[in-house]
């Protein structure tokens, strides 16, 4: 008989039996609830750990990007040596790319749209029909023809030029404004926002706070929708520049590749013009004279009055710092008898000193695009990213008060819930790319604002399946993705890691204590990760709790592109492959995918000395020669870099594994 029956019978049984039964049920329920809460909490913790891994590696990469910029500065400083050997090389590297403004209209008219083209056809002057047309076309996976891309870019530049550095926006009780954060080429998120919140229009204003491109696969489509919407509603669709609206970032983070892939014939031209368009994007937006909307953040020296005045288009790339003409150089300048203000850069064809921002102005913009808020008071260099700073709540108060503002809305950082409020409500982060690192990693969000009312936050998450997967599956996916990239990072530093381990392993047992292992990992990789908690995923442990530190490398290795090449060489090239890719792309100014052996050697020598890599020149020569398969003196560097493919042994379930570990 069930408990129900007993109850129905009423007084048929003694109350103590009933009590005992319900007491048992109570206890059972408690057990299940307790277990479930523990389980669920551990899932959430694993999710957080995975996010931390993604974030650390992302920022470490950005740091790598800035190191690359130092490399370019280093190159410029040593220009004389390069200049003597190959004057054209440097001119090509740093010379201006967009030749004439004149040839613009001519160029566009030379790009024909064939009758067979089935994609969307825009009609200038653009109207809201064109926005709709694009959205529908992109939903069907169509690609906008280069002719229209170029027209949109030229027109966007023309209109942006008329905009001030900070757009002033007013809201009213009948006119709210919606603020979106990073989209990073995730078109589905933009569609979802438009679905929930409506397309932009005269009565539906939007601010897009930078980082529209890179990483995701549809950066071009997002850019086109945003630019076309801007051209149709220039007073209601506001765009702020993000740190990824920068041609050098695009080289590393995927947009350049996307363009060259989708637009094989005209990609180069598109890239040239895009570089320019980026520089005309406004630095920020100010709502109702009280809310500042910028991509990154502020520093203690942020001067909005100055920022209003600078010539923003001279900020070509965040990663090409201007050579400073200041007191330090005066001594040298006086030595050159040519007089004041001569910067040793005659080699640059189009870039004279008047074409770049003064250093202090350049730094102001970097702070705006790269800084992150933190709980600690004060202002510190942003060491994870390598650019901008960390600013505390005191800095926020100081700057907001100084310029009579009430709130700062920014983006730039991925947040699990899509948004985050900090600094006592004065700083809001909004991030609009859901599932940014991996499916299930985070929600996206947007803010709706209206004068005097508290901001409202809307969250969403794009899911591929019609019903969302249970939490544990999503966490598993995220976690394995995070662990995978972490292992690849370990692999790229294998030699250094092993050296660090062996230093601690005096008895050469192949084992370390947890503390020793964690210390070596952090010291070598510098990622600030919870190594103890992550250890079960990365290494095996013996029954005494000691770590077999070589176990990580047993199921993962880099496939050697050439059998004879040494492991250290391979490892080094693997570690720097992103940097090399960028340098190659910069050298390869005609984007042919090929560079000459001479160029390769020259570049490698400089790279070698700047990064203090201990690889002999002849080793690189040998490798390069082997890569030059058709012996015509040119290297297809995409093939070269593709060769550094990491093999995760455990994933090759059915393939035979011929390589030795």
């Amino acid at each position: 008989m069930s408990t129900h029956d007993l109850e129905d019978m009423g007084c048929g049984t003694s109350s103590s039996t009933k009590d005992r039964k319900s007491e048992k049920a109570l206890k059972a329920a408690l057990v299940i609830q307790n277990w479930y809460r523990g389980y669920s909490a551990r899932l959430k913790a694993r999710q957080r750990y995975a996010l931390t891994i993604f974030q650390s590696i992302e920022y470490a990469d950005e740091q790598g990007q800035l190191q690359l910029s130092n490399f370019f500065s280093f190159m410029l400083e040593n220009y004389t040596q390069i200049h003597e050997k190959d004057p054209e090389l440097v001119a090509r590297l740093f010379g201006g790319t967009l030749q004439d403004a004149k040839d613009r209209q001519d160029y566009v008219s030379f790009v024909d749209v064939p009758d067979s083209y089935n994609g969307p056809r825009l009609q200038f002057p653009l109207t809201f029909t064109d926005i709709d047309l694009l959205v529908e076309a992109f939903k069907k996976q169509q690609i906008l023809h280069a002719h229209y891309v170029l027209e949109v870019l030229f027109e966007t530049k023309r209109v942006l030029k008329q905009m001030p550095n900070f757009t002033q926006v007013k809201t009213s009780p009948t006119k709210e404004i919606t603020i979106c954060g990073d989209l990073h080429g995730k078109l589905d998120d933009l569609f979802l926002i438009f679905y929930k919140n409506g397309l932009p229009s005269g009565s539906n204003s939007y601010i897009f706070n930078g980082d529209f491109v890179d990483r995701g696969k549809h950066s071009m489509e997002i850019l086109m929708i945003l630019f076309v919407s801007f051209l149709v509603y220039p007073n209601d669709l506001h765009l702020n520049r993000g740190n990824h609206e920068d041609f050098m970032m695009n080289l590393r983070y995927g947009f350049t590749k996307e363009i060259l892939h989708k637009y094989k014939m005209h990609g180069k031209k598109i890239l040239q013009i895009l570089e320019d368009v980026y520089t005309w994007l406004p630095i920020g937006t100010i709502i109702d004279n009280e809310i500042l909307v910028i991509h990154g953040g502020i520093s203690e020296s942020t001067d909005l009055n100055l920022l209003h005045r600078i010539e923003r288009h001279k900020m070509k790339s965040v990663l090409m710092p201007p050579i400073s003409v200041d007191e330090d150089h005066d001594a040298d300048l006086r030595k050159t008898k040519t007089g004041a203000n001569v910067v040793p850069r005659e080699v640059k064809t189009n870039e004279s000193p008047s074409e770049q921002l003064p250093k202090h102005e350049w730094e102001q913009v970097i702070d705006i695009l790269w800084s992150d808020p933190r709980g600690k008071r004060g202002c510190y260099p942003n060491t994870s990213r390598g650019g901008g700073c960390y600013f505390g709540p005191d800095i926020t108060s100081k700057i907001l008060n100084k310029f009579q503002l009430k709130m700062l809305i920014r983006s730039h950082e991925c947040k699990p819930e899509g948004y985050e409020i900090c600094h006592d409500g004065k700083v809001v982060t909004v991030f609009s790319a859901s599932n940014y690192y991996e499916e299930g990693s985070n929600r996206g969000a947007y803010i709706k604002l209206c004068c005097d009312m508290t901001p409202r936050f809307f969250q969403y998450q794009v899911t591929r399946a019609t019903c969302s997967r249970p939490l544990y599956q999503r966490v598993n996916t995220m976690e394995s993705s995070a662990i995978r990239i972490l292992k690849e990072r370990m692999l790229s530093r294998k030699t250094d890691l092993i050296r660090a381990f062996q230093l601690q392993d005096r008895s050469k047992s192949g084992k370390l204590s947890m503390g020793q292992w964690a210390f070596s990992m952090e010291n070598t990789l510098g990622l600030n990760l919870p190594w103890r908690s992550l250890s079960p995923h990365l290494v095996t442990t013996d029954k005494n709790g000691n770590i077999n530190y070589m176990s990580t490398f047993q199921d993962i290795h880099i496939q050697k592109p050439v059998k004879e090449a040494q492991s250290t060489l391979i490892e080094t090239l693997y570690r720097y492959r992103s940097d090399l890719q960028i340098i190659f792309n910069v050298i390869d100014s005609d984007h042919s995918g090929l560079i000459s052996m001479e160029e390769f050697r020259a570049m490698w020598k400089l790279f070698n000395s700047h990064y203090s890599i201990h690889i002999e020149d002849f080793q690189i020569d040998e490798l390069a020669e082997r890569m030059d398969l058709n012996k015509d003196g040119s290297i297809d560097f995409n093939e070269f870099l593709k060769a550094f493919y990491v093999v995760h042994k455990l994933e090759k379930l059915n393939k035979s594994d011929g390589q030795s570990p």
């Binding site: 069930s2 408990t3 048992k24 049920a25 109570l26 206890k27 059972a28 329920a29 408690l30 057990v31 299940i32 609830q33 307790n34 277990w35 479930y36 809460r37 523990g38 389980y39 669920s40 909490a41 551990r42 959430k44 913790a45 694993r46 957080r48 750990y49 931390t52 933190r374 709980g375 600690k376 985050e420 900090c422 969302s468 249970p470 939490l471 544990y472 947890m514 503390g515 964690a518 919870p530 190594w531 103890r532 908690s533």
Partner: protein, 153 residues
């Protein structure tokens, strides 16, 4: 034991830092439960409340400071308090709720027990549990299979 304590300290610090979003040695009090559970402990809600009271400020701020959390958590680990539920205890608990030994609970039954008995689930917790536990075809929870699936952590 000094070494053990030192290792516990580092473990606790790691777990704490992951949730310390502003890098100022504090975490939101609502995440304390997750942190404690991620360190392998399974306090009940009541026990969790007591723990929070121990680590909270005199005047609760909504944040827990690391300096207060560390000693309390270290003791919890040293005393091996709040050990997790063994698998067979969990199985027996389900069997108590299924006295006629059908091998499953209906969706309604699980909801009733989880939201009305013991330390009731919130709606969010209930939905989360159902999303993984319910077999869509029979609309019921085959608890043996469910446990087997969940315990592979």
């Amino acid at each position: 034991t000094e070494l053990v304590v030192a290792e516990y300290h580092r473990k606790i610090k790691e777990a704490f830092e992951v949730f310390d979003h502003e890098a100022n040695n504090t975490v939101d009090v609502r995440e304390i439960g997750t942190i404690i559970r991620s360190l392998g402990c399974c306090p009940s809600e009541g026990e969790l409340h007591d723990l929070i009271a121990e680590v909270e400020e005199e005047e609760p701020t909504g944040y827990i400071r690391y300096e207060k959390f560390l000693p309390v958590m270290t003791e919890v680990l040293l005393e091996r308090r709040y050990r997790p539920i063994p698998e067979d205890t969990l199985l027996r608990a389900f069997e108590v709720l299924d006295p006629s030994k059908r091998g499953f609970l209906t969706r309604e039954e699980l909801i009733k027990y989880m939201t009305e008995e013991g330390e009731p689930f919130s709606q969010e917790e209930m939905e989360e549990m159902l999303s993984a536990a319910v077999d869509p075809e029979s609309n019921s929870i085959h608890y043996k299979d469910y446990i087997a699936m969940m315990v592979v952590d």
